[in-house]
Every structure is written in structure tokens, then in C-alpha cells.
């Protein structure tokens, strides 16, 4: 699904060069749920930006769903982002004066679906996150957890190959965080490939595969031991 080989990303300012990623190698297969951990400034965000085609890289090669990213122009990259990738951000990034429907609608607009198809997908996505009845609500009328679920619905609506989540529960209290995590696990069991950046070792431990990034390189592939030795998660949404 995702194959990065020797990826380097260097930020240059007048005086210094920062290697945000250096010779970064990672392969993620279809259906995997990968947690990325690491200290602040380790390069995990850069990794996610490069993986999500939001940022370019200086060296190496990157294949997404069998497509080589190298040399693609902005149109092609945008198309890939739109069709293959779903983003989930720490601060949800919902548009405050769009209702849920319009928020979820946004990526579909750029896909050129007709109105019926968009409507079907939006309803399905909202259904999946359990907010179908609130399609006309504004984000501000929802709790943080609900808002993040809207963001997830937005990511899902395009039926992407891979979900990229950047600290999806970072702004949530523990109860809401749990609900969001349960949702992600359900999606994973239903077949979505997910890469999630997180600070929380418990969350990391709960997923299939862990990687740790330090100084722009993967240092540890070990899988955290499942909590209580039980990898099955009950989903209550």
C-alpha cells in the first residue's frame, strides 16, 4: 500500500539545515493499522506530511498504492490526495460555519461526483460515525469527540485507500478519546489501512503495528504488547 525507501526531507534556513527525515524506510500493507510514536521534533509530523503528499521530499522514493510519487505535478498529487488518502487532524479542522453535511461534502466536490452520489456517500459516512441524524448541525454545536468523528466521516466519505491520523485524540478527554479510538479500530477491522501518529503508548499498544521515530529515522519496529493480552476491542459507538 505504502512504500517509502530512503526518504530524506531537509529544511533549510539561512544558517542551518535540519534533517527532518533521513533515509526513512517504511512499508505498510493493506489493512494494517500502524501507530507512529516518537518525541516532539522527531520527524513524525514530517513523515505524515510526506506520506499524505502535503509536503515534498528531497531524496528517496515513495510509492502509494502502486503509484510512484516522484515527478508528479500538483494536479496529479491533488487527485491522489483526493482519491487515496483520508486525513484526520488533531484539531479536527472543520470549517466552523459549514454544517456537518457540507463539511463532509468538501472532498467529494473535488471528485466530481454528481449530487445523488455525494449525498449517498455523505449519509453513509455520517452513518458510520453515528452522526447521521445531525447532518444539519454546525460543528460548534457538537462536543469535541463528535467533531472528530465528523472529521473521520469526512476522511471516509471519499472511500480512501489509507487514513492518515495526526494525534486524533490529542484534544479530547479520555472518554471521548476512547470512543474515537474504537471507531478507528472498527474501520480497521472493516478493511481500512490506517497510519496514526500518537503520543499515547496505550493507544499505540492497542494497534497492530508500532514504529518509533527518533531524529528522522525509524528506530524501533517492536509491537507493544496488547493490554491484558487481549487484542480484541469491543466497539461501542
Amino acid at each position: 500500500m505504502l512504500n517509502m525507501k530512503d526518504i530524506s526531507r531537509i529544511y533549510r534556513s539561512d544558517t542551518i539545515q535540519t534533517h527532518a527525515l533521513r533515509d526513512f524506510n517504511l512499508q505498510v500493507n493493506t489493512g494494517e493499522f500502524v501507530a507512529v510514536t516518537g518525541p516532539s521534533g522527531s520527524g513524525k509530523s514530517t513523515f505524515l506530511n510526506v506520506a499524505g503528499l502535503l509536503d515534498s521530499f528531497d531524496k528517496g522514493s515513495y510509492e502509494l498504492d502502486g503509484i510512484n510519487i516522484q515527478g508528479l505535478n500538483d494536479d496529479e498529487l491533488s487527485r491522489l490526495r483526493n482519491e487515496k488518502i483520508g486525513f484526520i487532524f488533531q484539531n479536527y479542522n472543520l470549517i466552523p460555519d459549514f454544517n456537518l453535511f457540507d463539511n463532509v461534502d468538501m472532498p467529494l466536490r473535488y471528485r466530481g461526483f454528481n449530487a445523488t452520489e455525494r449525498k449517498r456517500r455523505i449519509s453513509n459516512a455520517l452513518e458510520q460515525v453515528g452522526l447521521a441524524s445531525r447532518a444539519n448541525y454546525l460543528p460548534s454545536q457538537l462536543s469535541g469527540g463528535q467533531q472528530q468523528r465528523v472529521a473521520i466521516a469526512r476522511a471516509l466519505a471519499g472511500e480512501p485507500k489509507i487514513l492518515l491520523a495526526d494525534e486524533p485524540t490529542g484534544n479530547l478527554d479520555s472518554l471521548m478519546a476512547r470512543q474515537v479510538m474504537e471507531l478507528l479500530h472498527t474501520l480497521n477491522t472493516e478493511g481500512s489501512t490506517i497510519i496514526m501518529v500518537t503520543h499515547d503508548p496505550d493507544q499505540a499498544r492497542a494497534v497492530g503495528r508500532n514504529i518509533q521515530v527518533i531524529d528522522g529515522q525509524i528506530t524501533d519496529h517492536s509491537v507493544y504488547a496488547p493490554i491484558n493480552g487481549n487484542a480484541t476491542i469491543n466497539v461501542n459507538v
Binding site: L54, D55, S78, R81, F89, P107, R109, R111, R154
Partner: protein, 429 residues
């Protein structure tokens, strides 16, 4: 089309959400465009081609003749009766006409009302009508040089008769009867190319067209410029004397005709020189309508000066709008980044901006037309000379809309490019 609607909806939402901002921006832009538009309206109508279908074929005839003892100075477009008669005699031009302007007071003969209507008279020759394409509603021109017959314009026809076909009726002028043989349709000619000098350039077309001989016979005064190097005792006394008051125009359809005509008037000057008259330091002049209007400086230089100022003001308004929009895009870069992240291409962002600038442009156009009309009224108030010059017509409204759209696009361009170029990964944090 669906995307267009979507963007339109987004833009609309944007406008409503940032009301104060857009009101400030659009109104300053609209004021700029409005002032500019009012100025264009004035300059445009001052510089319109009054007779586009044949303006390059109609020529003013200005002769190099002078009977004064000092022949320095530019040529004057007025000529003597004898000169005019010589021009009339030519068999080169397709049409020839000579004229002078007078003014009389007229009423219907036998009417109960004693009120007389002031009427501007064009004392001219039958060639006037085909040359100027004067549109006849009824009747036609007079046939005899000294006929006591006249053609009247629509305005006078309305004033005296309340309109309709009144060919055959008689007007009383100075106690004498004149038969109406033709009536013109409403006729606009701006500028009045056949008489642009001496403050007449934006006057309406004339009320009465009369045979020049008849006008002289009846001593109808020379209303505008009249120069003489002889003592002249009455209007009709001008025949054969050195009184300059007649203007001449010819229609020359081919280059050959023009050459021949030039030769014709050159010969005439030479002939006059041999008879002991003076020549000025310039050649006989045949200027076509547009050259003639430029030569007579029909566009008021003050309006050009104001034009410079209004263009600067428009620039200021564009600068202002542009820097406001830059700030706006700056504050909306989060949303732009998000859209890019979920798959909007740069094109899409640009297109969305374009739709927004279109919407702004339309709002701006509406206000600009409104302001433009207002400023035009103010200008006319402050500047009475403009009164008959300018009117807002379809073409002008179109120009207004185009300027408004263009300016809002220009204002939007740099901010939009900046917003398209914003790096994606930073804006979403």
C-alpha cells in the same frame, strides 16, 4: 457548472460572513470605478464619432484666404459668401453644403396663440441633408435657392404642432410666411460636427433648416462668429463683401475626389492671391470629421485633467482593495490549506478565487453604476458646460461592468496567487 455553483455558494457565504470587510472593500472599489466611469462617460461622449458610417468621407473645407493686411495666424473655418458660392459650384464632391447659424422666433401662421418659439436656424443648401444623413420623417428639402420654404426639426414640430405630419403648413417669422416642406425625425448628433466652434459643439440639432439665400434675403442675423474687413450694413450686404461667416463641408467618397477637391480649393486661393488678397502661412485644409473634431479640441481639456486624477484615484482604490484582499486571504489560508489537503488542485483554489472575484466584481459593478450616475450628476452640476454632453447608454453600462470586473480581478490577482502558493503542511497545524 456544478463546481461554479458550489464556488458561488462558498463566495456568497464568505461575503455574508465578512460583511463589514466586504462592504468597505467593495464600496471603496465601487467609488473608484464610479468616479472613473463618470469621467469616461463625459470624455466618451465628447469624443464620439457623430457620424461613424461616413465620418472619414465628410470633410470640413477651410480656405487659405484673408483680406486683412496681416496674414499671420491660423486659418479660420469661416468664409465669405462668394467663397462659399465658389465651393458650392464644384462638381467634384458627392455632396456639398455651406451654412451659417441664425436664430428666429416662429409661430404657426394664423394660430390663435401669439407666443413665438425660439428656433435655431441652419441657413444652408440642399446638400446639407444627404451629407449629414439627416433623417426625414415627412417631405423633403426645398428645391429653389430663394424659396420661402423651410425644413423643421422634430423638437420644433413638437413645440409648435405637437408632432405629426405638418408638411404644407406655414410658419410666421418676423411677420413673413414660410412654408414647411420637410420635417425631420428626432435627430441626435453629438458632437454637432458641422458646427463645433464657438460653444456650439454639444448643442442639439437645429430647429429650422432654411435656404441660405432666403435667410440672407430676410436679414436673419449671423448668430455665431462673424468677422469682417469691410463695413457691412446688413446681413444681405455680405454678398460680394469681405464678411466671413459661412462654413463649408463636402462629402468625398474616393481618394481621387479628395485630391481633385484639394486642387480645386488650391486653385481658388491662387486666384484670390492674384486678385490682390493675402495668403496665410498654411495650406488649404480638408479635414475629415474626426480630424476636424480633434483640430477643434472638442474634448474639454479640463475633463482630461480630471481624467488623469480619476485614473490615479482608481489605482488607489485598486491598491486598497488588493491589500484588503491580501489580508483576507491570509486569514482564510487555513480553509484553503484544508481544501488542498482533501484534494483541491491549485487550479480549483484559483477557480474558486476567480468566482469570488466575479461575485465581488458584480456587486462592485452595481454600486459603481450607481455611484457613476451620482458623480455624473455632480459633475454636471459643478460643470454646466457638460449638460448636453453625456448620457449613460448601454455601451457605457457595459464598459462600467467590464471595468468593475477587471478591477476586482486585478485586485484579487496577487492575493490569490499568494494564497495558492501557501505551503500546505504548515497551514493545517
Amino acid at each position: 457548472m456544478e463546481m461554479f455553483n458550489y464556488y458561488l455558494k462558498l463566495s456568497m457565504r464568505n461575503l455574508v460572513r465578512n460583511r463589514l470587510f466586504f462592504i468597505l472593500m467593495i464600496s471603496t472599489l465601487a467609488v473608484g470605478v464610479g468616479v472613473f466611469l463618470a469621467n469616461i462617460a463625459i470624455i466618451k461622449s465628447m469624443s464620439t464619432d457623430p457620424i461613424p458610417q461616413k465620418s472619414e468621407r465628410i470633410f470640413n473645407v477651410t480656405l487659405n484666404i484673408w483680406t486683412g493686411n496681416d496674414a499671420s495666424g491660423d486659418l479660420i473655418e469661416i468664409m465669405r459668401y462668394d467663397d462659399a458660392m465658389h465651393i458650392l459650384k464644384n462638381d467634384i464632391a458627392t455632396h456639398t453644403m455651406v451654412h451659417y447659424q441664425s436664430q428666429v422666433y416662429a409661430r404657426e401662421l394664423g394660430s390663435k396663440s401669439l407666443t413665438r418659439q425660439k428656433a435655431v436656424v441652419r441657413a444652408t443648401t440642399p446638400g446639407f441633408f444627404p451629407l449629414t444623413d439627416a433623417p426625414f420623417a415627412f417631405g423633403s428639402s426645398w428645391q429653389q435657392d430663394h424659396a420661402k420654404q423651410i425644413v423643421i426639426g422634430d423638437t420644433l414640430n413638437q413645440k409648435i404642432f405637437g408632432g405629426g405630419n405638418n408638411v404644407g403648413k406655414t410658419l410666421e417669422i418676423d411677420g413673413k410666411p414660410f412654408e414647411i416642406v420637410g420635417i425631420l425625425k428626432p435627430w441626435k448628433l453629438k458632437p454637432l460636427f458641422y458646427h463645433v466652434a464657438y460653444g456650439q459643439k454639444f448643442n442639439p440639432t437645429d430647429d429650422i433648416f432654411a435656404p441660405i439665400e432666403t435667410a440672407l434675403d430676410n436679414e436673419w442675423a449671423i448668430n455665431v462668429r462673424n468677422s469682417a474687413t469691410d463695413r457691412i450694413n446688413s446681413v444681405s450686404d455680405n454678398r460680394g463683401k469681405n464678411g466671413y461667416f459661412i462654413q463649408a463641408f463636402v462629402q468625398l467618397d474616393t481618394l481621387a475626389q479628395k485630391k481633385e477637391m484639394q486642387q480645386y480649393i488650391n486653385n481658388y486661393s491662387q486666384q484670390r492671391l492674384q486678385q490682390g488678397e493675402n495668403l496665410r502661412d498654411y495650406d488649404n485644409r480638408l479635414l475629415d470629421v474626426n480630424q476636424w473634431l480633434v483640430h477643434k479640441e472638442v474634448v474639454d481639456e479640463r475633463m482630461l485633467a480630471f481624467g488623469i486624477a480619476t485614473s490615479l484615484f482608481l489605482a488607489v482604490c485598486i491598491f486598497n482593495a488588493s491589500s484588503l484582499l491580501l489580508a483576507r486571504f491570509h486569514s482564510s489560508r487555513f480553509e484553503t490549506g484544508l481544501r488542498r489537503a482533501v484534494g483541491a488542485r491549485m487550479k480549483d483554489v484559483f477557480y474558486q478565487g476567480l468566482v469570488e472575484s466575479l461575485l465581488i466584481g458584480i456587486c462592485c459593478a452595481i454600486f459603481a453604476l450607481l455611484f457613476g450616475w451620482m458623480f455624473l450628476q455632480i459633475s454636471i452640476n459643478l460643470f454646466p458646460a457638460l449638460e448636453h454632453t453625456s448620457d449613460i447608454d448601454g455601451a457605457l453600462i457595459l464598459i462600467g461592468v467590464i471595468i468593475a470586473l477587471t478591477t476586482s480581478f486585478i485586485s484579487m490577482l496577487y492575493p490569490l496567487i499568494r494564497s495558492c502558493r501557501t505551503s500546505l503542511s504548515t497551514t493545517l497545524k
